[in-house]
Amino acid sequence: MSSSSSRSAATRAGDQAWTKMSKMNAELFNLTYGAMVMQLIRDYEDVQAVNQQLETMGYSIGQKLVDEFLAKSGVGNCANFREVAETLAKVGFKMFLGVVVEVTAWNAEGTAFSLQVYDNPLADFVELPPQYSGLVYSNILCGVIRGALEMIKYQVECRFVKDGLKGDEVNEIRVELRQMVDESFGEEYNEGA
């Protein structure tokens, strides 16, 4: 599985990919996301529906963003789900959000892991008022991960299990593999040949 050397290779790939990306001010990004969440709260009036809508928007983003990742990250095919997790954390998060994320808490089967997000650019400046305690403010990230992985045939479920906005020390997203999507367009993901 992923040795410490391949881990640092992923970190290096992440740094390289990040260097090549055009950058912008994180606050404008953050405030823009906040404006969108507030709009959804006004439109839906129900926190659960907002959570769902954020996930759906993220899913749509993930389906598209994965192509930019593949086109620009320089990362080759991942051999297995563990490599997918490392690549997602060390290259994906770094390349788009400029932050480093840790992979932890694998289950015994190697089909579920946690992403620890220490520094969440979506949630700076944010304080959740009590009436929105059910809001999963950064739920869009779960959708992005689900959409992106599905396009490369990993069907996953994602949810926040720890949330910095609710007093947890870290943001933690649980990612569980449901199944491999089998499509007819050719490429083999298992080590055939």
Partner: protein
């Protein structure tokens, strides 16, 4: 010299086609659609009949045509044709994939799997092809 570029969606529909040279044969809309779906079909048959695990057709070379196909891991096929002997279609195809990731997928008015009508993508492709054609010409006259 580059001749044609076309893009086939993951569901097999032709979503973009462009003549890259005045000497490239002109195809009607119908001919393009047939070409797109035929290539899509051949591509998946090729993958299935290959004796080893295969990702389908990557290159075709004939006396008067060279064709190269880049399929993204998300299943979109970018197909470029050129005169025989034209080098380096790989780089051009990758450049087109980057343009697609930028100017198609980040455009709020583009719907996935639908025909690409994005001015900025079109301009990007034109610039990329122009730049590469110039370099080809220069390399040829230097040689």
């Amino acid at each position: 010299m580059f001749l044609h570029l076309f893009v086939i969606s993951r569901s097999g529909g032709l979503i973009y086609n462009k003549n890259l040279s005045s000497s490239a044969p002109r195809l009607t809309v119908n001919e393009w659609l047939v070409l797109g779906s035929t290539f899509h079909g051949l591509h998946s048959i090729a993958a299935q009949v290959a004796p080893l695990a295969s990702s389908g057709i990557e290159k075709l070379e004939c006396d008067n045509l060279k064709l190269q196909c880049f399929q993204s891991r998300t299943g979109v096929k970018f197909v470029l044709t050129a005169e025989p002997g034209t080098p380096d279609l790989d780089n051009v195809l990758h450049g087109i994939y980057e343009l697609y990731a930028d100017y198609v997928l980040k455009n709020p008015f583009y719907e996935m799997d639908m025909p690409i009508r994005c001015d900025l993508f079109q301009q990007g492709v034109e610039r990329l092809i122009e730049r590469n054609s110039r370099e080809l010409k220069k390399a040829r006259s230097d040689a």
